[in-house]
């Protein structure tokens, strides 16, 4: 027989695609050694990112965010509720992340994705700890009525870096949010005003349609650590092969909001973490610019 490397011989007789499926790690390592990724990106570069505001007209605020082919649709619906006893002059925000069957072949009806509740929790934690929203702004009548903001994020196409895309769409939807004008009717109930955004007659409790003041906006970047390489914004294929992920969340003024490293085979040196943070800082500037452009595009319309 005398065959030194069976797989080497095998690779010569099959297509690149097949080699990629059979020996994914070897395939990637050959690329990484050349400092390039199979999709042509340098290691530290994120995929093309777009944001479209106002994608769902029936919602009070919405945004569609795409990072590469990962696609997220976020929408905010506002409802009036009675505030809790502990915080009578605060509204509430409920965040939910969904992965419907269309987003990935792994998800089927009745077999939900494991990632969904994890991302959901991460999003709630990030948005509440970033102090982005002042919940007092959601109050209507102290102790009587306040806004309940339902923020739902749907993953339409899952191709890696789900948290980054979900956070981006969530932030953009909140950015786009217009709080509806409401007035107090005779029975003491809050009703949504019929006049859409127009000037309202001056009744004491009336509120005009307004935007939220967002104090600091959180942005994130997920990186893969593999040996000494750091790969920014991984695809789902990359996430499946190399399992150690680090997610850094920074706000617009580069303050660290959170840092996740949920285990994984690679133990990160502090220098690697610092490299991730540096990449994120760069990415935050990019994302801020993309969000601003999406917003100015809206105003032109």
């Amino acid at each position: 027989m005398g065959l030194p490397d069976a797989s080497g011989d095998l690779s010569s007789e099959m297509e690149v695609d097949a080699f990629r499926r059979l020996f994914p790690l070897r395939f990637y390592e050959r690329h990484l050694a050349e400092s390039i990724r199979p999709d042509g990106r340098p290691l530290g570069r994120a995929r093309d990112t777009t944001i479209a505001l106002g994608a769902v007209t029936s919602a009070d605020g919405s945004a569609l965010a795409k990072i590469g082919s990962t696609t997220m649709l976020a929408a905010v619906k506002m409802e009036v509720m009675t505030p809790s006893m502990e915080s009578p002059d605060e509204g509430c925000i409920a965040i939910d992340f969904h992965m419907p069957p269309i987003c990935s072949p792994i998800v089927r009806p009745g077999r939900p994705a494991e990632a969904a509740p994890v991302v959901s929790k991460q999003l709630s934690d990030t948005i509440s700890s970033s102090g982005m929203i002042n919940l007092k702004e959601l109050s209507l009548v102290s102790g009587k009525a306040a806004w309940m903001a339902y923020l739902d994020i749907y993953c339409l196409d899952a191709d890696g870096a789900l948290f980054d895309a979900a956070l981006l769409s969530a932030v953009a939807a909140l950015f786009h949010l217009q709080i509806p004008a409401v007035s107090l009717n005779d029975d003491g109930k809050i009703v949504v005003s019929e006049e859409d955004g127009g000037k309202l007659e001056k009744e004491p409790v009336n509120k005009e349609k307004r935007k939220l003041t967002l104090r600091s906006i959180p942005f994130s970047l997920t990186c893969i650590l593999h040996k000494n390489y750091i790969l920014a914004d991984p695809t789902s294929e990359e996430e499946a092969i190399m399992e150690t992920l680090v997610t850094v969340v920074l706000d617009s003024s580069s303050q660290l909001i959170s840092l996740y490293k949920p285990g994984g085979a690679v133990l990160a040196y502090t220098s690697a973490v610092q490299d991730c943070i540096a990449l994120t800082r760069q990415r935050v500037r990019e994302l801020q610019k993309i969000l601003d452009e999406a917003n100015s595009g809206m105003e032109v319309d």
């Binding site: 769902v56 029936s58 919602a59 929408a75 419907p100 069957p101 269309i102 749907y154």
Partner: protein
């Protein structure tokens, strides 16, 4: 699941929580999944793929009336794009009967006050009806009129769908 000589079709329709005017109202649309299944099964050549299941998942992002016809037409477009062998495209159109008037492609408000409804799913090129649902009281001439309106709309919709598919095909080749 048993081995099957012909392919299987599996359909699922769901709504986003923000699709309906009242939040999370449209979640129980089990019957839509079965209606979608019935609308599509006659059009797919299931004999050509043994032991295979075709999953069709539909997610309604925003509901503004005539949801099911749109879901059906959209799903057939997706099947054609996926290269699943089909006898024909499947197009679906509904109309509402409001008093004496027939309104085609009704919006949500029209649907909620309708006196009757008629929905046709057809294979436009073969001129065959795969699904027909009528509610409310109808006289035969009115059914005739309604069916004709819907069938005309179906063939117009099919032309739009065909040009969309052709455009995608030629642009993907370049």
């Amino acid at each position: 699941m048993m081995y099957s000589d012909i392919g299987r079709l599996n359909c699922n329709v769901s709504y986003t929580t923000f699709a309906t005017p009242v939040r999370a109202q449209g979640s129980d649309r089990k019957e839509f999944s079965s209606m979608l299944h019935k609308a599509l099964e006659g059009a797919i050549i299931l004999e050509t793929f043994p032991k295979t299941t075709v999953d069709v998942f539909a997610l309604v992002l925003e509901s503004g009336g005539s949801d099911l016809p749109v879901v059906i037409s959209c799903a057939s477009l997706a099947l054609a794009d996926a290269g699943i062998l089909m006898y024909d495209l499947v197009t679906s159109v509904s109309l509402s009967c409001l008093g004496k008037n027939l309104v085609i492609d009704p919006i949500l408000e029209e649907e909620s006050y309708q006196d009757g409804s008629l929905m046709i799913t057809c294979m436009p090129s073969r001129y065959e009806v795969t699904q027909l649902t009528i509610t409310g009281e109808w006289s035969t001439p009115k059914i005739n009129e309604g069916m004709q309106l819907c069938l005309d709309a179906c063939s117009k919709l099919a032309n739009i769908m065909r040009s969309c598919l052709k455009e995608a095909t030629t642009s993907s080749q370049e």
